[in-house]
């Protein structure tokens, strides 16, 4: 039985992220961070769902997240990433990028480092200075890449005061999200339906590759890379479509799957079980996509959580030339394979802005001022 716990936090949540567990440890996720938006005072908060011994009489678990600490954040929290165990990087609508440091001894957060003018329309120093919201961050210790509404890409390194590399006008439209592809390469999505691959080894301000949706230029809002197969990328668009891309082949998505009814705000492959994918949307839904084909009887388990539906999808490029032993389940023709979709939230709420998965744990945050946590994704 999938149990999902709601906690009302009196602020609209824009981002939720699990703290990574140390490599090699057997711990499951127990600490996550949230960022709020649209409040007069926004906060970056740290929560714990620890207390493993604290099972109640029914053998269930005490699911209520407890606030460990929080700190004021200037502007809306646009994106949030854990840099390492103690440090959190936050992107602000004021164009500022901040690293917060968590002190576990006295449970406080403090500002560790800040780039106040990471994103701007008119340069700092000029009298008509106007900032631009920073929309996305991705971290790969020690590097931090940020993108913004100004179409700028910044490469920061922790403990360096200035940006290591800046690509001005990298995009003529708004960049919505960024992720690492291979180490020096990043992938950005923008508001005119394009995926761009940038290689930091190359000088100049041109992307090394552009992939785009056909024709209708639907804005893309989120991107995630398959954890094991680095050429497989999932994106979510304004029309709620899930697109799967093979960045080695073609300039068009490998498949388009009809999904949510409104903007898909985030998409995440499960980090250790990448046949599972999670998406959330402005329409207030949170979906679990299961493309593992070898578990027909197991899939019935997932039907309990709520509305279950299998969507017919159309593949726009039936490339028959993909013959490899290690084919991702996402790069088979989705028209032939069933993908089981389970809705994880019991009732439709306001927009689900963010989600994160780690091990058996999932956390998501909504505009209805609630965070939802489950620790039994695959039970």
């Amino acid at each position: 039985m999938e149990e999902i716990y709601a906690k009302f936090v009196s602020q609209k949540i824009s981002k939720t992220r699990w703290r990574p567990v140390p490599p090699g440890s057997l711990q499951t996720a127990e600490t996550f961070t949230t960022g709020s938006w649209d409040n007069e005072e926004n906060y970056v908060s740290l929560w714990s769902i620890g207390d493993f011994g604290n099972l109640d009489s029914d053998g269930g678990f005490e699911g209520d997240p407890k606030l460990l600490c929080d700190i004021r954040h200037h502007g809306d929290v646009m994106d949030l990433q854990f840099f390492d165990q103690e440090r959190i990087v936050a992107a602000s609508s004021t164009g500022c990028v901040t690293i917060f440091l968590h002190h576990p001894n006295n449970q406080t957060l403090s500002v560790n480092q800040q780039w106040t003018t990471a994103h701007y329309h008119t340069g700092p120093g000029s009298p008509s200075y106007s900032s631009a919201p920073c929309t996305g961050i991705v971290c790969n210790n020690p590097e931090i890449v940020t993108v913004g509404e100004d179409g700028r890409i910044n490469l920061f390194r922790a403990d360096y005061k200035e940006a290591v590399r800046t690509i001005d006008n990298a995009d003529s439209s708004t960049l919505h999200a960024v992720t690492f592809l291979r180490t020096p390469e990043i992938l950005t999505v923008n508001s005119i339906g394009q995926l761009k691959i940038w290689d930091f080894r190359q000088q100049g301000n041109e992307p090394s590759q552009i992939l785009s949706l056909t024709g209708d230029r639907v804005p893309l809002h989120c991107v995630d890379r398959h954890p094991n197969q680095q050429h497989v990328v999932a994106t979510g668009g304004q029309d709620g479509m899930l697109s799967i891309w093979d960045v080695r082949q073609g300039t068009m998505p490998f498949s388009l799957l009809k999904a949510h009814e409104a903007e898909m705000w985030e998409v995440h492959f499960h980090p250790s079980n990448p046949d599972h994918l999670f998406t959330c949307s402005e329409d207030g839904s949170l979906w679990h996509w299961d493309a593992s084909t070898d578990v027909p009887e197991k899939s019935s388990l997932f039907h309990q959580g709520g509305r279950t539906s299998t969507f017919l999808s159309h593949s726009i490029s039936n490339q028959a030339n993909v013959h490899q032993s290690l084919i991702s389940s996402w790069l088979t023709d989705p028209a032939k394979d069933r993908i089981d979709i389970t809705s994880l939230l019991p009732t439709r709420t306001l927009s689900v802005n963010s989600l994160d998965v780690l091990g058996p744990c999932l956390v998501c945050g909504t505009d209805a001022e609630a965070i939802y946590v489950t620790r039994q994704l695959f039970s």
Binding site: N39, T122, S172, E282
Partner: protein, 544 residues
């Protein structure tokens, strides 16, 4: 919820504690009014059950008795507890006679002297006729039984059965509905509506709804005793007892600091079809008026505006108009917020608002020199005029810098290119450059010419186009056919002949004119040479 607030009061500093306790008192007052309205207006309980409901209502809202009871029963010897009689009295006042009897039996156990009296009073409590749900007896039967019971109580009092114990005597008096005895317990009653309900319980158990206001008024007067004037809450409850719905709503609107309560109460009453007769001389009806007020309040809030949308959705008459007016005024500091607002508009087919929000965003982007973004927004708004404006900016930038910016966007316009002529021109002109760059000169040349002949290109841009034709004319092989060359010549002549004569040209203008003249001369020369070449080639091709 109240418990949570109590915890907060205990934990936080005094300032926030005060604020929280004032919030709690507002909240409990709202709950009190709400429940009373439920009983009176929605349940529409008839005589008999009405009193039972009112008793429940009082028990729910005067709940100090529970902690008192826990306190007394928790002690080693309950009947010797200092608050023992207080507890028994409160229980009797609230009509919780079973519990009161149990307490009395404890007293009887410990003090043999009063055991007899306790038993008699306990019996009176047990035999008090009450209406139980599911019982089929009629009101008249009940009234008759009650009368008998009442007389029995009266007799015990007259006989001085309880004379030895003032506590028991006063309890008996309360059970007789003796006003003076009740008013002695003012402190335990804590408010007039408790007094009212207790008084009704022990003197008019089958009170009719219609008589309620009479007892309510007299209870209020008796309870206050002319010492203090009624407070807003008293007025609201009184209005409810008078079954004056509109007065309740009015008093609530005045007394409470926001529209939350009134809007929801009115909505509930309206759904029960209790407000239909009443029409306002402004707006639509009262329910909608109050909902609109409340939703407008939400929209003024920095973060709760999303909730206001739902309220507007349920206002059939003016909801949409109000939403249209409010939604355009939400400050949009990020595109993400803008997208959320746009989604709300698009779900409701509010095309005009979508247009205007996109336009605001496009303007903002232009101000920030983000032409690509601006163009995207004007395409989304399907705003041809603005697309033209942005395209002009692109072309101007091109003329100044000699190269295009934001190629990723312009190369991917697709069908959106048809939005405005200027945008089509921009897309096609860029295509010309691409063809030229790919050395597909013939295609490039015919595209260039068609841009002028089809009148897509703005006149002001023709000179640039003709200048772009120069290198094509100067190529070794002939690219423009004779026919095409004639067309080009005509375009050039159109352009030069249409130029107005200037008055006194200054030095700068003279220099500009000079460059212009040279350009025209060069073009004419190139055209003539190309024409010659083309005629020869075409002639020789035909000949061969």
């Amino acid at each position: 919820m109240e418990e949570m607030h109590q915890v907060a009061i205990a934990a936080k500093d005094p300032a926030s504690g005060r604020q929280l306790s004032s919030q709690v008192s507002i909240l409990s007052a709202m709950e009190l009014i709400w429940n009373l309205c439920e009983i009176l207006f929605i349940e529409v309980a008839p005589a008999g059950p009405l009193l039972l409901h009112l008793l429940d209502w009082v028990r729910l809202h005067v709940c100090e008795v529970d902690s008192l009871s826990a306190d007394v029963l928790g002690s080693e010897n309950p009947s010797k507890h200092e608050n023992f009689w207080k507890l028994v009295t409160v229980l009797v006042l609230q009509g919780r006679l079973d519990e009161a009897r149990q307490m009395l039996s404890k007293e009887a156990d410990t003090s043999p002297t009063s055991a007899g009296m306790c038993r008699i009073l306990g019996d009176l409590m047990r035999t008090m006729p009450i209406l139980s749900p599911g019982n089929t007896q009629t009101l008249t039967e009940l009234e008759l039984k009650w009368q008998h019971w009442h007389e029995e109580c009266e007799r015990h009092l007259q006989d001085g059965t309880f004379a030895a114990s003032p506590h028991l005597e006063s309890l008996c008096k309360i059970m007789l509905g003796d006003e003076a005895a009740l008013l002695e317990q003012k402190e335990l009653l804590s408010n007039w509506y408790h007094f009212l309900v207790t008084r009704l319980l022990y003197s008019h158990p089958t009170v009719k709804p219609i008589d309620l206001h009479f007892y309510a008024q007299s209870s209020l007067d008796l309870f206050l005793g002319g010492e203090s004037s009624p407070e807003p809450l008293d007025n609201i409850l009184m209005a409810a007892f008078e079954f004056d719905i509109h007065q309740v709503i009015k008093e609530c609107s005045i007394a409470l600091s926001n529209w939350w309560f009134v809007a929801h109460l009115t909505d509930l009453l309206d759904h029960c079809k209790l407000l239909q007769s009443h029409n306002l001389y402004f707006g639509s009806n009262m329910r909608e008026f109050l909902l609109l007020e409340y939703a407008s309040g939400l929209f003024a809030h920095h973060s709760l505006w999303q909730l206001g949308v739902d309220y507007f959705d349920y206002c059939p008459e003016l909801g949409r108009v109000s939403l249209e007016l409010h939604i355009e005024r939400i400050p949009l500091n990020t595109e993400q917020k803008a997208l959320k607002v746009l989604r709300i508009c698009e779900q409701r087919q509010m095309t005009e608002q979508v247009r205007s929000i996109c336009k605001i965003l496009a303007m903002k982007a232009v101000r920030n020199n983000r032409l690509g973004s601006a163009l995207s927004w004007s395409i989304r708004a399907k705003d041809a005029a603005f697309a033209t404006l942005v395209s002009d900016r692109f072309l101007r930038d091109y003329c100044e810098r000699g190269c295009f910016s934001d190629l990723d966007l312009i190369d991917n316009l697709g069908p959106a290119m048809m939005l405005s002529d200027r945008l089509t021109f921009l897309g096609k002109y860029r295509e010309f450059h691409r063809l030229y760059g790919e050395k597909r000169f013939v295609d490039a040349a015919s595209l260039l010419l068609s841009l002028m002949t089809s009148q897509i290109a703005p006149r002001s841009f023709w000179m640039t186009l003709l200048t772009d034709a120069l290198p094509l004319l100067e190529q070794k092989q002939v690219i423009f056919s004779a026919e095409q060359t004639y067309e080009l010549m005509r375009c050039l002549e159109d352009l030069t002949s249409g130029r107005p004569e200037h008055g006194e040209p200054d030095a700068q203008q003279l220099q500009d004119d000079d460059i212009e003249t040279t350009k025209v001369e060069m073009l004419r020369l190139a055209l003539a040479r190309n024409l010659a070449g083309a005629i020869i080639r075409e002639g020789s091709l035909e000949g061969s």
